[in-house]
């Protein structure tokens, strides 16, 4: 026999563990000795998108597979399930399966579920200690969902899309799951106040909402690498050092304190994009935003430019891309622009000005290596 087929079965199972379900199942065609290795690998990945069968059959297969691992006492380390649920009966299958996973000693449980309407998530989900990855769309997450304790302390990735969840419930979840590394909240419109200060391992934070909702976000884990926020009020703690932050994207964000932001340090920041953050200087007459980012590589600003700002960096090669919208009083505005260009003068600048009121035509100036 060939070298790979001769490897011990548990090593072949381990190799297949690292393949997608599709690639793993396809190995059954290689030769007779490969025909069943895939269905004994230590992970069971069931994704409804991948299959053409109907949902009832899909769920029956998942159930049979689980039962097979259970009956044959095979090692199951990971269980991943991705499905659109549209039937209350299907949702209740989770209530049956999750305790089974616990009994089988599954260490990593990934769940990706979609539900079109608001329906309470079965409480059993947050009782799963092995839950590592939860991606949820639709559903309602209220006090009864997490009525008892949140036991999923190993949760690393939490993605909520269009989930009806209120502040108290959200805070309870994140204070119970200190290992979260990725947190993404999209269109969860009941959230008003988010504090993510206690997630010490948080690396990626994504938030987006709609213009009509107002949510205040307090942010400061030093572990953060990517922050991407759209449509929210954001407060940065005074004098904080974001040691690991590489990318900061603020879109339609209102900074609650300019001074606080200006006092923060961003030693690792490479990408900065500030887009349409224009409501930010309403409070003070002359707002100045200062950014301490010695390693900045790409700076993009898009907006009305009704503030002045400067960037301190020791980067040798970096670029600034400015899309400025101009209105009223051009003389003052141009003075401000001059100051800005001076502070960016060591970067490759690409400047686009959109002028309103005075001239309907847009003026385009490109200015390199000023």
């Amino acid at each position: 026999m060939d070298r790979i087929s001769e490897l011990p079965k548990h090593i072949l199972q381990r190799i297949l563990y690292f393949l997608s379900q599709k690639d793993a199942v396809r190995t059954s065609v290689l030769s007779k000795s490969w025909s069943y290795i895939w269905c004994t690998r230590p992970n069971l990945v069931s994704s409804y998108n991948d299959s053409k069968e109907n949902k009832q059959e899909f769920l029956t297969t998942v159930e049979q597979n689980l039962q097979r691992y259970c009956d044959q006492r095979m090692c199951l380390e990971e269980f991943s399930l991705l499905i659109i649920l549209d039937n209350h009966e299907y949702v209740s299958l989770l209530e049956k399966w999750i305790p089974t996973l616990k009994n089988m000693g599954v260490k990593k449980f990934r769940l990706s579920i979609y539900w079109k309407y608001s329906r309470q998530l079965p409480s059993v989900v947050f009782e799963a200690e092995s839950l590592q990855d939860l991606h949820m769309e639709g559903f309602t997450l209220d006090q009864t969902t997490i009525g008892r304790n949140v036991l999923s302390k190993h949760l690393k990735r939490l993605l909520l899309v269009k989930v009806e969840i209120e502040d108290g419930v959200f805070q309870k979840i994140i204070s119970s799951c200190p290992l979260i590394e990725t947190l993404s909240l999209e269109s969860c419109e009941r959230l008003r106040n988010i504090k993510v200060n206690n997630l010490l391992r948080l690396k990626k934070f994504h938030f987006s909402s709609t213009p009509k909702e107002e949510c205040c976000i307090e942010i400061y884990p030093a572990s953060l690498e990517i922050i991407n926020i759209g449509h929210a009020d954001v407060s940065f703690p005074k004098g904080a050092e974001f040691q690991n932050l590489k990318s900061l994207f603020l879109n339609h964000v209102i900074l609650t304190s300019f001074d606080n932001f200006s006092s923060c340090k961003f030693p690792s920041l490479v990408n900065l994009c500030i887009s349409h953050c224009d409501g930010l200087d309403e409070s003070t007459e002359e707002s100045h935003l200062f950014l301490d980012a010695p390693n900045l590589n790409t700076f993009v600003y898009h907006g009305w430019f009704n503030l002045s700002f400067s960037i301190a960096t020791t980067s040798r090669e970096w670029s600034s891309t400015l899309y400025l919208l101009m209105r009223d009083d051009p003389s003052l505005w141009l003075l401000k622009l001059r100051k800005l260009l001076e502070s960016l003068s060591r970067s490759k600048i690409s400047l686009t000005i959109f002028q309103f009121h005075i001239n309907a035509e847009d003026i385009f100036i490109e200015n390199r290596d000023l």
């Binding site: 490897l7 381990r14 190799i15 393949l19 690639d23 190995t27 290689l30 030769s31």
Partner: protein, 163 residues
């Protein structure tokens, strides 16, 4: 042991083709098999490793030294592993995964398994058979039946002539 004297203890490992290797105990105990021997006090003289040849053992020791020199930073360790395995051919990988299995080094076993899996990723059945020299012992009817059963796994995969 090492803690008492304050100097790093060195172990001597012997491959199945009688090559001797010196390695710091702190690096060698990445192998649970070796760690158990050390803990049982059987590591005084030469530790014979009957299932590993000299060439593979040399490579495993390079890995042990390299990975144990990296402080607890999972990303740096991962990039070290990727680099360490990047130029290894399949024969070497097969030797390494068997050695990792025998020495009970789960981190190396996982890394090598993942590397082998990476080679198979998204590849057609024919390609994988050729690459690894796997002989197709299905009759054409049997093969057609297995393919039919898992038809969905062939969607979007490169096709080739012999399959």
């Amino acid at each position: 042991m090492a803690a008492e004297t304050g100097t790093p203890t060195t172990l001597t490992l012997k491959s199945n083709d009688d090559e001797l290797f010196s390695v710091a105990e702190s690096a060698a105990i990445l192998s649970v098999t070796i760690r158990n021997m050390v803990e049982d006090g059987c590591a005084g003289g030469v530790i014979p490793l009957d299932n590993v040849d000299g060439k593979t053992l040399a490579s495993v020791i390079t890995y042990m030294n390299g990975i144990s020199a990296i402080p607890a930073d999972e990303e740096k360790k991962k990039s070290y592993r990727d680099k360490f395995l990047s130029d290894k051919d399949f024969e070497t990988l097969a030797d390494m995964v068997l050695a990792a299995n025998y020495l009970n080094m789960s981190c190396l076993m996982d890394a090598v398994s993942a590397k082998i899996a990476q080679v198979m990723e998204k590849k057609s059945v024919g390609w994988v058979r050729r690459k690894f020299g796997i002989e197709n012992d299905y009759t054409p009817e049997e093969e057609a039946a297995v393919k039919e059963e898992h038809k969905w796994t062939f969607e979007g995969v490169e096709t080739d002539d012999d399959n």
